[in-house]
Amino acid sequence: MAERSTWRNKVGLAEMLRGGVIMDVTNAEQAKIAEEAGAVAVMALERVPADIRAQGGVARMSDPEMIKAIMATVTIPVMAKARIGHFAEAQILEALGVDFVDESEVLTPADDRYHIDKHAFKVPFVCGCRDLGEALRRIGEGAAMIRTKGEAGSGNIVEAVRHMRTVMSDMRRIQAMREDELMMVAKELGAPYDLVQYVHEHGKLPVPNFSAGGVAIPADAALMMQLGAEAVFVGSGIFKSADPARRAKAMVDATTYFDRPEMLAEISTGLGEPMRGLEMNTIPEDQRLASRGW
């Protein structure tokens, strides 16, 4: 009679996070700050992307002890990252009881060809994308939420904007097409045909479409929401800033009132130094995280 972990349960949790901010945290204390600020969920990871970038080395799934400590501290959903293609890490995260797994380009990929078969899991997954084809491939594999990749740890919004605009304009293009043009588009995008049909019919993804990668100030969150994002991930932007508690709260407020400039002006005032950020041309091609994923 009761069915557990249905597709509707998985996508449903993603829908419940809409209009909210998901914050990267590296310990229980930061998780508490995030929850106090009004985060809808936290992403538990050992190093924020800015530190992964600075320190180098192989970035893997976080220590379960740290994830458990965070799960014990907050009542909001807890997400954690697995490497691209590393289904054993994902199995461990599911066994820990995390609420969402991020198959993430921020960690070092474990498979240079295949992503995880996400339908095989009870826990829902989120995956990054740069364009519509990538988004639909991930949904085809079972992702219940899509986010732009942006360029994690850069504090620079330009890549997230590019990815969101690419996804949104591809969807508008497909929506305007004739039925008999869809198969060729599916071929060009490398996307499942039935999902291209869904986009043609509904003008949106079949799962929520969030933004991530480079969000550093409240205006960045408002920009992404106005471009069509349904919620915002903030990674290094909060705990690499001068006053994390205050900035975290401002990010939450800005994501709710993204379309009210007078309120955004108020919300953006007196937050202290944001994270420093990187110009894209100072990040060598082979160190760009967004290019990971196939």
Partner: protein, 202 residues
Amino acid sequence: MSETAVVIGVLALQGDVREHLAAVRAAGAEAVPVKTREELAQVDGLIIPGGESTTVGKLLDRFGLMEPVRAFPAEDKPIFGTCTGMILLAKEIEGSVQPRIGVMDVTVRRNAFGRQVDSFEQDLPVEGIPDPPVRAVFIRAPYIVSADPRVEVLATVHGHPVLVREGHLLAAAFHPELTDDTRVHLLFIEMVREAKRGRTAE
């Protein structure tokens, strides 16, 4: 007699607002998103959608919406809370001091069925809604652990109340907005129509 025209607000601070707007419209009433006190003043009834209860509670507090929402039932304006909305309507939340509207005489337990991997859906018989049963989607859902005798229990799972009504308040632990079945929304819209008729008759 023609149907009383009502405007239903959906609190749009965070959560699955769009689905509730669509469900109300599909059930034949006008629906508008509500983010400010001014917008709140324009509606005959309010839906608090699914989302994160700590987030929505804090935003209600920060933006001066808590008091005017709390005053709704006394002004004969009904409130319907789903999941997060049920938590925020409850006077008592087990083990939590989080901000809440706190107008319903119930004690609620958050994440009562477990974490996300324990989320489920099932057919749910509802008092006052003829067969077929409602397909109820539970996501990190709460349930009610105790209620004042004045609270009507309309549906239960394993004996735990998951749909309840008290005066102008309706609360569901599940998400009727995630299916195409509008019967639970219709129940609420009828409460709003009746309350409005009562208001205008005075």
